[in-house]
Symmetry: C2
Subunit: 317 residues, 2 copies
DNA sequence: ACTCATTAGTGCCATAACGGCAACAATAGA
DNA sequence: TCTATTGTTGCCGTTATGGCACTAATGAGT
């Protein structure tokens, strides 16, 4: 193992905050990281990290070396990228992350065909509803709703996602169908509560064209869309969710879009996020495959909602 | 061995023009280079070189990869440089090249003291009168007379070198002392003939201030200054040489500066040449040590030529 | 066209480096 | 004070490296 790889290990230790986590990330023993770090410092003749068993700090040399190592990593990935540009067939590992539903419904179904077309590509799909470190954990693509939080990442739109408000027929029988926002606000709600966001207010556009936030009376929270739908189907709450969460519930009559007359603002787009320009071919091809699967005009999930175009004040595309 | 080192091997093959020469440079078996190159191509999934047993050509990918590899090499050396800046003591190998006389007379004598001061520095001094590839052969410093041929190299002046015309007393007894350039031109001459330059004409500045080249009647050529002096001491030829070649011959009376009244132009400076800015500490320190040894005003070799300041129309410093 | 010196490639094998395991010391939080 | 976790290091099995020997290819010289 030579100096560049050792520098990459060093960089990962710094970025992950511990040798142990860097080792876990690399799927190697902690001793490997410890020994290679020691060797690096010996080779360079300078201490990079002051470390104890629970923490470390960068030396001045280490801080400067971190910058250099980042440049090296970028350059190395550009180098590999150059080679990949000459590949007749895409190859290598494609490491993807997305939220649970996104992954199961809209990514997983694409993979088999994709791998038939490109048998030399290995795909790893990890469903993470938490905020992940896309760069640090080595993802090629991350599928997300909303803009990325890290401005160093690049986001490319995949599809629009629009909200709708759902209730079960039994819920309506029990509470009556609400006609105004005020009436809705009094009803029990199931809301999404993920690591990074909670939807505890409903935004709508009033008659004057202003965005108004109305608190929802939360009786249930979950970080999984399917859990939310299950609660709503049980007839004990309504929910406001993006359309991609809906499967065939509306078609089957298990769920009914309610308050269709109100004007909801456009929700965040679904994006693909990745670390830097110049996607490997396999990433670009997979992105294209998912986009084709979802549909570039009307997303596939909107086909599960008859008449969706006319609801909630949506403008036709 | 991982990808960076393999890329460095690839680059060296390209720069050296053959696997065999790259192997020689690295002091490894040819099979090592062959195997690592093949591995690199396998890892990148692209052919970099089309090769036969006698030649190779770069593929398009290879050409692009060469550029990248050069950037990587530069970045790696900057990385090592950063570390070296933090060394409390200079350390590592200092690889030097110079011509034979330069090395023996003005570099070798500096090394012991230098290594007493900096015991962690290993010095390799190679005497090469041929043109060497400073970058390709991994030299830290090259000691040269005259400007470097490669504009990517940096030259820092070390000392002035001035010519003088020497003959033995016996030569003068045999041929008489020449009084004009024309008379000199008729006499047998020993001339320097290295790989890169031959001194077969004598330049002088005439009464009108113009540089005039006068052919020398060569009866002897050598690529070593000491060989030239030996021939001149034998009384069978005169020579025109830079002053640093002279040892104690003039003081002992074995050689006499002749034609002192003519005006010789300033000769090339002695330079230290190195590949790029940001010398490692040990290089800078060695440069300083040699400069101090030679003398920053009047070079040490001029002390072997009494009255040299007043000869050949030299302007005082 | 032939010969020859040199180069590139590859199988085999000894050696060195790598990576994992286990044990231990250090440490931060409870 | 205790405990869980982290970083370090000795030891050992595995893997990669590097060298040797051999072979095929090739360009220069005759």
């Amino acid at each position: 193992m030579d100096i560049t790889n050792k520098l990459m290990i060093f960089l990962e230790v710094v970025e992950q905050g511990s040798l142990a986590r860097a080792a876990e990330l690399r799927n190697v023993d902690r001793s490997v990281v410890s020994k290679q770090l020691n060797k690096l410092e010996e080779e360079l003749g300078v201490r990079l990290l002051n470390r104890s068993t629970r923490s470390f700090s960068l030396t001045a040399a280490g801080a400067e070396m971190v910058k250099k190592a980042k440049e090296l990593r970028l350059m190395l990935s550009e180098t590999v990228q150059i080679a990949e540009n000459y590949h007749s067939e895409p190859r290598g590992l494609l490491k993807l992350t997305s939220s649970s539903i996104l992954g199961k419904r809209y990514i997983q179904p694409v993979i088999n065909d994709f791998q038939k077309r490109f048998p030399q590509v290995e795909v790893e799909l990890r469903l993470e509803d938490r905020v992940v470190d896309i760069v640090g954990e080595g993802y090629d693509l991350a599928f997300r709703v909303g803009p990325p939080r890290d401005s160093n990442l690049i986001a490319r739109p995949l599809a629009r996602t629009r909200l709708l408000i759902l209730a079960a027929p039994e819920f309506i029988q029990t509470y009556g169908e609400p006609k105004t926002i005020e009436e809705l606000a009094e009803l029990p709600a199931a809301i999404y509560a993920g690591d990074s966001k909670k939807v505890h207010e409903l935004l709508h556009i009033d008659k004057n064209g202003k965005e108004v936030a109305t608190p929802m009376r939360s009786v249930y929270r979950a970080n999984d869309g399917e859990l939310l739908l299950a609660k709503v189907i049980s007839g004990t709450a309504y929910t406001a969710v993006p359309a991609f969460i809906v499967n065939d519930e509306i078609i089957k009559g298990s769920l009914i879009p309610i308050m269709q007359h109100i004007h909801l603002p456009e929700y965040h787009k679904m994006n693909v996020v990745y670390p830097h320009r110049g996607l490997p071919a396999r990433s670009q091809l997979f992105f294209d495959a998912v986009k084709e699967y979802i549909g570039s005009e009307i997303p596939i999930w909107e086909h599960n909602i008859p008449g969706f175009e006319k609801m909630y004040g949506h403008k036709p595309s």
